[in-house]
């Protein structure tokens, strides 16, 4: 059976968004947030490199035989 016209998910979504009175859409918000978070991750990335090296060294000496 063929679907009824105008039932694509994009159309449904647009209709629903219109119903929610979305007058305050800020188009670049996600991009800005991603950039802000990226800047704050520098310290984490430096620490991570040290952690990876330590973990490999630790595991090579760990004998599992119990």
């Amino acid at each position: 059976m063929a679907g009824t016209p105008n039932t694509s998910s994009s159309q449904v979504l647009q209709k629903l968004l219109n119903q929610k009175e979305n007058g305050n859409v800020k188009p670049e918000m996600l991009h800005k947030i991603n950039n802000e978070v990226e800047r704050k991750m520098e310290q984490f990335d430096l620490q991570k490199k040290e952690r990876i090296a330590k973990a490999v060294q630790d595991l090579s000496m760990l004998v599992i035989n119990a």
């Binding site: 994009s10 979504l13 090579s60 599992i64």
Partner: protein
């Protein structure tokens, strides 16, 4: 082949006779073996009915038999005994009718293979977690396993387990076998492996003979898993001190990824086991969290995983689903040599295209919340981070009755990779009831950039909608948190 139905209270006596006749155990072997069996089943429900099949051919034992036991002077039998468990009274006639077969399936609780390797006779087994007497809910990873019991094909949900035979397989091999058995029964990407295959894969890395097994190093376990198709990640207590290692384990286990943990102590113990789930976290809304961040208006951010919980381990020296606190992983051992064991390392078998790790996902979520708080103040929130396949996540969202249709449509329409990191947030009282009020979705295939796909916070949706990205006002009611573990 013979099939007999008995009550569980008669199992030891009945099996004792079979071990003598079928396996030709002497009295000392018999006593040691029955003691192991009694210990293994001591926490089983007392109302179980048992089906016992002799002359069972077990693939796991046969691998050990042909590659090791058959070469010894002492004679070992080739066949095993299979013991199947049912939660109601059954009769032989149930095995010969459609209605009977349905009843058997409804009450099938799993099976244990009894192998002729005294005293370590508990072989391959898959048991439902609720076969045990317990006073809390077990949330576990599980796969479905088939067993043709007396001619009837049955299925059981559980995590595969075997005790070590202490010769061909010690904890390192059984833990890898158990993990591969789980993944291969759950996902088409993986194949089951037998112990000889594990030895073959590691032969080029081994500087001495592999049989009898003297164990493996942590790196050898990691190497074997990598060769079997995983993108393995390693975490140690040295590189993730204090509770940081626990948090990593907790996030992966909550995601439904069984995690191998290596435990050690000053007495020279080096052991591995799979953590496959946890007990119920429900402790009410009164838990006093320690803040992990303070927002600009003084409200605080807490970690969901700080709540006290015990974890479920599949350990080849014990029955499956042993309950342990992460701070005392050998608490179920009575021998003093196991005292004061701690988790030294975690080996996480990730799908090979998951590039973002748990600590990065958690940190990205925290930084996002801090950035958002600069724009609109956030209340005190509990943060729960876990990984999910986007298929499972979208399926759960679609069927979540507490989510508004527009939220569902927005989330379902987001382009997602095979796996996503999910950070759920909610006030402490709501999170105690397993309800969240916010959600951050992150691309698990992005190792370097934050890669936030979209987020929902404080009645705002920030993310893609119909091809363009933006911020939309969306009413958001508290909704049930996403679960990858099954409650039993």
């Amino acid at each position: 082949m013979n099939f007999e139905i008995i009550d569980i209270k008669d199992l030891s006596t009945h099996l004792g006779g079979m071990l003598e006749s079928a396996f030709e155990f002497d009295s000392a072997e018999l006593a040691d073996s029955i003691k192991k069996l009694d210990t293994f089943i001591q926490k089983f429900r007392p109302d179980l009915v048992v089906g016992v099949e002799s002359f069972y051919i077990d693939k796991l034992y046969r691998d050990a038999y042909y590659h090791y036991y058959s070469s010894k002077l002492k004679e070992y039998k080739r066949n095993c005994i299979r013991v199947s468990f049912f939660s109601t009274a059954i009769s032989l006639s149930d095995f010969y009718s459609v209605q009977g077969a349905q009843k058997l399936q409804e009450h099938f609780m799993g099976f244990i293979i009894i192998r002729p390797t005294s005293p370590n006779i508990i072989g391959r087994n898959v048991l439902r977690p609720d076969i045990f007497v317990k006073n809390t809910i077990y949330h576990t990873s599980f796969a479905r396993f088939g067993a043709a019991v007396n001619g009837i094909k049955l299925e059981v949900e559980g995590f595969p387990h075997s005790s070590q035979d202490a010769e061909f397989m010690v904890c390192a091999e059984t833990t890898i076998w158990s993990l591969m058995e789980y993944f291969s029964n759950r996902y088409a990407e993986y194949k089951p492996v037998l112990p000889k295959t594990i030895h073959n894969v590691l032969s080029q890395l081994s500087m001495q003979r592999q049989v009898p097994s003297a164990g493996l190093t942590g790196l050898q376990i990691s190497y074997a898993l990598k060769e079997f198709g995983f993108g393995v990640k390693l975490y140690t207590a040295n590189s993730y001190p204090g509770v940081e290692l626990y948090r990593m384990i907790q996030m992966y286990v909550e995601s439904g990824i069984p995690t191998i943990v290596a435990i050690t102590n000053q007495n020279g113990i080096g052991h591995v086991m799979n953590i496959v789930g946890r007990t119920d976290l429900k402790i009410g809304g009164t838990f006093q969290y320690t803040p992990i961040e303070v927002f600009s208006n003084g409200s605080e951010l807490y970690d969901y995983y700080e709540q006290p919980a015990n974890y479920l381990v599949v350990d080849d020296n014990m029955a499956p689903y042993g309950v342990i606190p992460l701070s005392d992983p050998a608490c179920n051992y009575t021998n003093p040599i196991w005292q004061n064991c701690t988790i030294a390392a975690a080996i996480v078998p990730l799908y090979f295209r998951i590039y973002m790790e748990a600590d990065r996902a958690r940190n990205v979520a925290i930084q996002l919340l801090k950035s958002h708080d600069q724009r609109a103040h956030l209340p005190s929130l509990v943060l729960r981070v876990l990984l999910s396949s986007s298929r499972t996540f979208k399926h759960t969202v679609s069927l979540n009755e507490e989510l508004d249709l527009v939220v569902k449509t927005l989330i379902i329409n987001i382009k997602m990779p095979k796996f996503v990191w999910i950070a759920e947030v909610g006030p402490p009282d709501l999170m105690a009831d397993e309800k969240a009020t916010g959600l951050i979705l992150m691309d698990a295939t992005e190792p370097k950039k934050p890669a936030i796909l979209a987020y929902l916070l404080e009645n705002s949706y920030i993310g893609p909608a119909n091809g363009s990205s933006g911020q939309y006002s969306i009413p958001l009611s508290p909704f049930s948190i996403h679960k990858n573990l099954k409650p039993f």
